[in-house]
Symmetry: C2
Subunit: 367 residues, 2 copies
């Protein structure tokens, strides 16, 4: 990669195209090898350009988390999209309008919502696929798998309207983000898959797609045990959180925030960078004994280094990042230099920046 | 105020103009009464429109936290601006260019930086004011008041270049954000003011401006004990954090995030709204026994209610907000309704949204 160091004046999110494409290729290969469809979640990168890198690896179906994000990717020719967020009735007309342009799946958690939505559909639209969100243990949204009554109601609404097509069950095992290591991720996934398979069996006469797959599970598992589709998102960039979970090592992190050094404090071995909560988000995590907001790298014209040992972002305010470093690193850094920060949570960092620097060229994104 | 409930389809940041103008008026009155200049920090709202409300209260000098923010407000006629962020040498040319358009003050924490910056100045520019950042206990950036050697070096650089004018000392007592209640805020402020006054006395032959003032201190103090200038920012909107600190009550919070309700879970009395970390930021705080990400209000066409008792945002993911409510509230809310969320940290919420809904009209901001 090429980093135009001299032209970086403000916090800029660098993408290492080679690492990013390798992350995409590895997941696409795994999906093919294990016989599941990869429907990657594009909320992490929200970029048409990066979307095309997926297409080059044979990906044709995607997931997004908002109606406007679906609209953005339709503009770039994507024509098989799941909006993996409970239907927002206030955007019904936008959703219906998108369904005239693309094969669209929506996500439903309550019969009441689908009933209201169903009444708004007009002949002339192509049928909209309906996934029922199932809560397999994350407890954010979704019906309990045991709640067959509500599930049946949703399916009945689909059956009563030719413009709705019951498509399958979808779950997000976000509890893997609290997991540490392979075994725990495998256990969480296995439990979720068993619930999904049992549910499919209860409604066995219908063709049903089972859709699963957070980044930790999709990075680690080598067996999707009857699942049809996986929807990882974060893996395109990975981040420090994923290294702590065990999904990847730091060499697979494909984004790095380039930050100008603006001050130093020798009494605390702290470096202050231009790069704060409005760039990295306030996402933090325990890294060993430390609460951190990012890891620290050196930048060259060709890329970023491995994270510097015992150096980390220890605090953030709106525009400031406080970087704790060793004495050796401290003495080698001067105001006006650039430091690289590997983000704790790349999705939120990408969202905050709203654009990328890829091989020296600015690439806009949806945010 | 007027809220166009029917036209809100996505998370939208409502501003109550009457509350906001009252917050501005109260602070402007206090500054006049106590004989200090109000140089409000515009990083909270980043809006030309809201900036004009300050002008109508007699405010003529402002603070910003980035070079691009200074540029944005210069476009709207502001001509006395302090960039309260350590000089970023990589933006030297932008800073120098701004100084040809406005009376500009910069912030310096190291002689080394000012030396490098000084060498770039050309005749023809008007002099740039230089504030030295002093660390009075927050330990984020700034020189220790005892570090007279470095302070003298910075003043000497100013004296050696007619295009630099040493202006005074500036501190940010951000440690008030950890304070709870009047006494603690007064103690922190008093200690900071004493350090600033002692510093001024040591350099007593020079005309020196002492600039202080975070929102908690400026909201609570009735005596600025010799300080010349205050720079509060957050008070324009306030937020839940400020109510916990003791700067205001919830009736002074001037922004509220309108969020569509997209799902309900009766087993947990939880409501899911469209409104997540990308809208509210991940800022949280302990509110009584609970870690919360916001308080919850009802919306009408005329404004928002007081926060609903025992209701709060308990979790956020990228686009989802999880709202814990009482059984009574739960049963009264339906998918497609709107809920209002009072943010924990209004600066970051405003930054995330990038625009406001003020009396039904969309107002863009700098972000």
């Amino acid at each position: 990669m090429k980093i135009p160091l001299e032209n970086i004046h403000k916090p800029s999110l660098l993408v290492d195209e080679a690492i990013c494409r390798e992350n995409i290729r590895r997941m696409a290969d795994k999906a093919r090898r294990l016989g599941v469809q990869l429907r990657p979640h594009f909320k992490t990168h929200q970029s048409k350009l990066i979307g095309r890198w997926f297409r080059e690896e044979g990906v044709s179906a995607i997931t997004v988390s908002s109606v406007s994000m679906a609209s953005y990717f339709i503009e770039d020719g994507w024509d098989d999209i799941t909006i993996a967020f409970p239907v927002n009735l206030r955007e019904s007309h936008e959703i219906i309008s998108l369904a005239s342009k693309t094969r669209l799946n929506i996500l439903v958690t309550m019969p009441e919502t689908l009933e209201a939505f169903s009444g708004l559909l007009n002949n002339g639209n192509q049928p909209i696929g309906v996934f029922i969100k199932i809560d397999t243990g994350y407890h954010r949204t979704g019906l309990q798998p045991s709640n067959e009554e509500e599930i049946e109601k949703i399916i009945a609404i689909c059956n009563s309207n030719p413009l709705l097509k019951f498509t399958g069950f979808l779950t997000h095992t976000g509890q893997t983000y609290q997991a540490r290591g392979r075994e725990e991720i495998e256990r969480i996934s296995r439990e979720a898959f068993m619930q999904m398979l049992a549910l499919k069996a209860s409604f066995g006469t219908l063709p049903i797609i089972l859709s699963v797959g957070d980044t930790p599970a999709c990075s680690i598992l080598e067996n999707f045990q009857g699942m049809d589709e996986i929807r990882p998102g974060n893996f395109v960039f990975y981040d420090v959180m994923q290294t702590v979970i065990g999904s990847c090592d730091t060499g697979s992190i494909a984004v790095c925030l380039a930050c100008p050094v603006v001050s130093k404090d020798s009494s605390r071995n702290e470096i202050v960078v231009y790069g704060g909560a409005v760039h990295l988000s306030k996402e933090s995590l325990m890294y060993g004994e430390q609460l951190i907001f990012g890891l620290v790298c050196r930048l060259s014209g060709k890329g970023w280094s491995a994270p510097l040992k015992n150096c980390y972002v220890s605090g953030l305010s709106q525009e400031h990042g406080i970087v704790k470093v060793t004495s050796e690193v401290f003495s080698s850094i001067r105001p006006g230099d650039l430091l690289g920060i590997l983000p704790v949570h790349s999705c939120l960092t990408a969202q905050s920046l709203g654009s990328y620097l890829i091989d020296g060229k600015l690439a806009d994104a949806h945010m």
